[in-house]
Structures are given as C-alpha cells and as structure tokens.
Symmetry: C2
Subunit: 118 residues, 2 copies
DNA sequence: AGCTTGTTCAACCAATTGGTTGACAACGAC
DNA sequence: GTCGTTGTCAACCAATTGGTTGAACAAGCT
C-alpha cells in the first residue's frame, strides 16, 4: 500500500466502514465495542480497522481501565486537503488560461499541437 | 475495495504513482507513453493505473488517431473535499464546545463521566 | 483467587492489488 | 500490403486486504 503518510491516510479512508467510524468519532470518543455495535462484523474486524486508522494517524488510543477509548485526530485530514486543493487549483488555473487563449483566438485559426507543455 | 464512488476516489489516490500522474496531468493532457516515461515500470502497469483513475472518474480518455490522450477530471476531487471538510468541521466544533465547557468549569470540580454523548 | 468484560494476537482463507511477460488490435507511414 | 508505434488484454505471481475463529491478555468485581 506504499508506506508514505499521505498514501496511508487515503487508503484508510478508502473503506466505507472506516469512513463511517471517523464520522461517528466526530461526535465524541468511543470504545471499540461501541464502534463495533452498528456493524455486522466481529469486534476483531473493527479492531483491525482501528489499527489501520491509527497507523494513518487519524485516531489515537488512550487507556481508561480495561477500556481503550478511541479519539479522532482531525488535523491529519489537513494533509489530504492540502494535496487535493493544490492540484485542483492548478488544474483550474490551467483551464482558465486555456479559456482565455480560445477566447482570444480568431474563429478561423486552425488549432495547432494542442497545448502541449503549456 | 467497496465499489462506492467515494471509496474509489480515495483508493485511486492511495498510491504515490497515481497521485504523481494526477499531478502531472494538471499541467496538461498526456498519452500513456508520456505518462509512463518517468517511472521504472512497464507501460502496461501504467495503463492499469490509468484504468483505476478512470474508474474513479478522475481521468477520461479521448481518441486521437492511435493515441489515447488522458485528461484530468478535477471536479471529482470536490467529492472528497466535501467529505473531508464536513467531518473536520464537525470535529473542530466539538472541540470548541468542549473548550468552552472546560473554561466555564470551576477549577475544583471533579470531572464526571467524561463527555459521553455530549 | 476466580469470573466477567473489553480488547488484541495468531492463524487461516478468499479476494484484490500492483507488478510482470507475451500476444494482439488499431492506426499511420512507407 | 507490411512495418513500427501506441495501447490494451490475458495469464500469471507474490504480497496485501478484510474477514473469520479461537486463544490470550488486562483490569475490575465478588
């Protein structure tokens, strides 16, 4: 899965169950059993999902007697947002420039070597 | 990998090679061979990566003689941003409320049943 | 000490992934 | 038509994934 941090975060959220758990954790910390309740899988499977989220830095665990409450670390989401927004912006800028070029181009001009390296 | 659209987009970007290809495509459309050049993998492997990106809706292919230029569809990124921002915002709001409660709490009060269901 | 609750570890399984090689289709050029 | 280019399809492989069951560990309760 390519161990770099960004890949881990994307991979962690590429699963609906894990996304759902993250969503639930925005409402407050929860134990493994609480998190497992809504799903039809075993508690061990949920524990594995949490391990993936933890390795991506999305959640942390604290100890409270024999419970291990799960806490959402929302800042990691910024890593992704930064990546996404950067390239979305670049793509948009390129479209804008292209639009400008097309608008400035007289109607009868044959378009050449479409935009390579522009 | 759980076939829903959001999962597909996250999974597609959970690979550094594919993220790199997306980044390169913000500079303009490119053919499979052009995209393959910088990497040490076969062109077939790159073709597979592109298939993943296409199934996530991140790129589209047009036909230009025997070339198949790849075009970035940046709007799909908004799907992710929407998801991420929603939950990041919710998490932040919760922290703010919690801060307010803690600030309003007299120093000598024993904290009870920490925040469950709040 | 012994039982119960909460959580994880270990082994296993089927399905998927990212990569390979080799064959093949589609098209432009000679 | 035949040749080189561009790209995909098919089969295969090792590694990973998401799930299972069963055992083990950890901490409180009686």
């Amino acid at each position: 899965m390519a161990a770099d941090p960004l890949s881990r975060v994307f991979a962690a959220l590429a699963d609906p169950t894990r996304r759902d758990m993250v969503a639930r954790l925005t409402a407050g910390d929860a134990t493994v059993n609480e998190l497992a309740a809504p799903y039809s899988v075993t508690v061990q499977a949920v524990s594995k999902h949490l391990k993936v989220l933890a390795e991506a830095g999305l959640v942390s665990r604290t100890r409270d007697a024999q419970r291990r409450p799960v806490h959402l670390e929302a800042e990691v989401l910024d890593l992704m947002t930064a990546w996404i927004e950067r390239y979305r912006r670049e793509a948009e800028e390129r479209y804008r420039r292209l639009d400008r070029v097309l608008a400035a181009m007289p109607d009868d001009v044959e378009p050449v070597a479409p935009t390579e390296g522009m």
